[in-house]
């Protein structure tokens, strides 16, 4: 990296990097491969894109970790910037889910749409909100608590405790995903059975994907904790993982209240019979 003898500002100006263009190539191949797959083609081209994307993640973030830990590029000012950046990323994610909630309300509430009919539509066998979804709510809420325990342990320089509770959080995430998958398998409606499954599967599916990403993020953080990457006063990556985890938790609470509970009630809906 650059020698900092002449540097008079706190900012991190990285050297030229191949990762942005490699990541773009990954995205381009995934787009073309995805379209090919959707039009009766094989899926391997899409898979090639995903592999290049994962390679980009590995190479790019590996370099960021080196810059943070070895090269000392993360000044206090740079850390503030990284936090801002991640918060804004989460804000954009919130607006992505906003679209799917809009689709759900528009489709189910006659006050919002001229064509909203009986909700839940006839023939849809609902997943009882008090069953597995309630269990998953408890699991995810607990995991938000456990990640906080881990984070506080990290701040208190209790690395062992932080490692344990981060792994517990990641395992809770995996259990949530297991139950969510089981719920999908046991559901009697499939994706193409009309508007109810459309909104249900895309909203909960994108949430599930975010839980998957967040779980991977937590596992990486647990491994990095074990390697001693994080300091009590310098652990931006860990903070980001914790914030992301709280974000998927909040999205789930909205999903649970609106899609599972309100969606199976008669409030505001036209009900059958």
């Amino acid at each position: 990296m650059a020698t900092d003898a002449a540097k008079t500002h706190p900012w991190h100006i990285p050297e030229p990097s191949p990762w942005p263009i490699v990541g773009t190539i990954a995205g381009f191949i995934m787009a073309v491969g995805g379209i090919w797959y959707m039009h009766e083609g094989p899926i391997y081209l899409f898979g090639v894109g995903v592999l290049i994307l994962l390679f980009t993640f590995y190479g790019w973030w590996r370099q960021v970790i080196i810059e943070a830990n070895t090269a000392g590029e993360h000044s206090e000012e740079v850390k503030v910037g990284l936090r801002y950046g991640f918060i804004f990323f989460i804000a954009s994610e919130v607006m992505f889910f906003f679209a799917f909630f809009w689709a759900f309300f528009h489709s189910s509430l006659p006050i919002l749409s001229n064509v909203a009919q009986v909700w839940p539509p006839e023939g849809i066998e609902l997943i009882p909100a008090g069953g597995v979804p309630l269990l998953n709510t408890l699991i995810l809420l607990s995991s938000s608590a456990t990640v906080t325990v881990a984070h506080h342990a990290l701040i208190d320089d209790n690395r062992k405790k932080a490692i344990t509770w981060t792994w517990i959080t990641a395992i809770l995430g995996a259990i949530f995903l297991f139950f969510q998958a089981e719920e999908y398998i046991e559901a009697t409606f499939k994706l193409s059975d009309g508007i109810y499954p459309s909104t249900f599967y895309l909203a909960t599916g994108f949430h599930g994907f975010h839980v998957f990403v967040g779980t991977c993020f937590l596992i990486v953080c647990a491994l990095r904790l074990q390697k001693g990457h994080f300091k009590p006063d310098h652990h931006i990556g860990y903070e980001a993982a914790a914030w992301y985890w709280h974000f998927v938790d909040v999205v789930w609470i909205f999903l649970y209240i609106n899609v599972y509970i309100w969606g199976s009630s008669s409030f505001g809906h036209i009900t059958a019979g």
């Binding site: 900012w11 263009i21 995205g27 039009h39 000012e77 950046g85 906003f98 679209a99 689709a103």
Partner: protein, 532 residues
Amino acid sequence: MSDTAHDHHDHRPTGWKRWVYSTNHKDIGTMYLALAMVAAIVGAAASVVIRMELHQPGIQFITDFQFYNVLVTAHGFIMVFFVVMPALIGGFGNWFIPLMVGTPDMAFPRMNNLSFWLVAAGLVLLVIAGLIDGGPGTGWTVYPPLANADYHPGMAVDFGILALHLAGASSILGAINFITTIINMRAPGMTFHRMPLFIWAMLLTAILLLLAIPVLAGALTMLLTDRNFGTAFFSPEGGGDPILWQHLFWFFGHPEVYIMIIPAFGVISEIVSTFSKKPIFGYLGMAYAMAAIGVVGFVVWAHHMYTVGFNVETRAYFTLATMVIAVPTGVKIFSWLATMWGGSIKFDTPMLYAMGFIFLFVVGGVTGVTLANAGSDMAFHDTYFVVAHFHYVLSIAAIFAMYAGFFYWIGKMSGKQYPEGLARLQFWITFVGVNVLFFPQHFAGMAGMPRRIPDYPDAYAGWNMISSYGAYITAIGGLLFFVVLWKTLTSKETVAANQWGEGASTLEWTVASPAPFHTHEDTPKVGSQPAE
């Protein structure tokens, strides 16, 4: 690879790696400007072909009407996502945010490069979309059912959707970068209330991007699954509703029009102040007017869809909310005029374009108030009146801001003096051209001529022919721009660090021209400028 040790901090990469691997805000800004220029040639060519087809009643040469629809779609997509946004936000934003806030580069220089390459990849996907399976004939609004698999069974619309996904990812990452840079990296002394108005404009634009683009991404994903995986979001036969698409699209789409014009506000504010040799009139009012436009812009989306069958209360609300936007917009117009009032005005090309912008924006704004009325819009919806309105207020206004910004900053970017006489000629040709092109469309539209139709009754022949001649004049202006660009870049005449004199008080004029590869390595101190 960047792991390699470099012993000198000012090491300047050379060859193709300088550009492809770039982490330099100026190089990335230049690439954005180049991409916008290439895309502009394609987008403008599409519009000239459209005007040639509409030159006279009857079918001139486009016998495949799907091709006509593809031209309309390509023109819209390219101009919005690959010309105006890359030039005003990616180009000028990247070049001048670090220079004007007094910091060496953007907050996340590598992610900045990712934003550029993603929009370039999006453009490639869009070109593929236009060439495959008959192309997308949906218009840039991609309304189902026309956009669904029944009417566009091929890959074209899917390529269009993925093109927008990549361009959207680019915009979101760019927005994160811009907001973080502006909030976190301003030079000491530059409080929010001392930021140049261009920086205010970029901050607000980035916030709008951050909140609006993901909604489009969600909607596009639903369209993709409707087309390919049997979901029913927009198909009534499955209990869905095509109107849902319109809500989601315009909830993105209306902020999107401010995403295109707020950067223009910023450029114009800098230029009007510089060439009037006066600080901008009502600085805080100007900044908060932009903020108000941004906020209210999120709650007016349904004025794009008055004809879908809303109840009267809904239409009354959206009419009212839309007209409210005229208030902060008026604050801006009158503040620009008040800045010029009593100023020592120099009519160089940037100022000519800035004044042209104000004129075009006012004409388009007035027709905007007309269209804000749900009552009158029921008649004007989907006519050329709407086409004339949004080309004045948004498209041509944004293009004028791009030309204005180019002539204002090309000295800083290249160190070269543009040819003033030729540039003024280029302005006048363009100004006459766009007015001849779009003003008659008001009359054609009021007489009932519909949008997006390759043929029309003889009654509309006159206005259409004038309009087509305007398109040819504008195209000549566009070609002349590339002559001016060539003459500028090959010019031997250089410019001083501050070529505009005392009126230009922002920080980019304190560094040499052309701006060195790295600037503001020593953090500048900011006094009371640029606000009062």
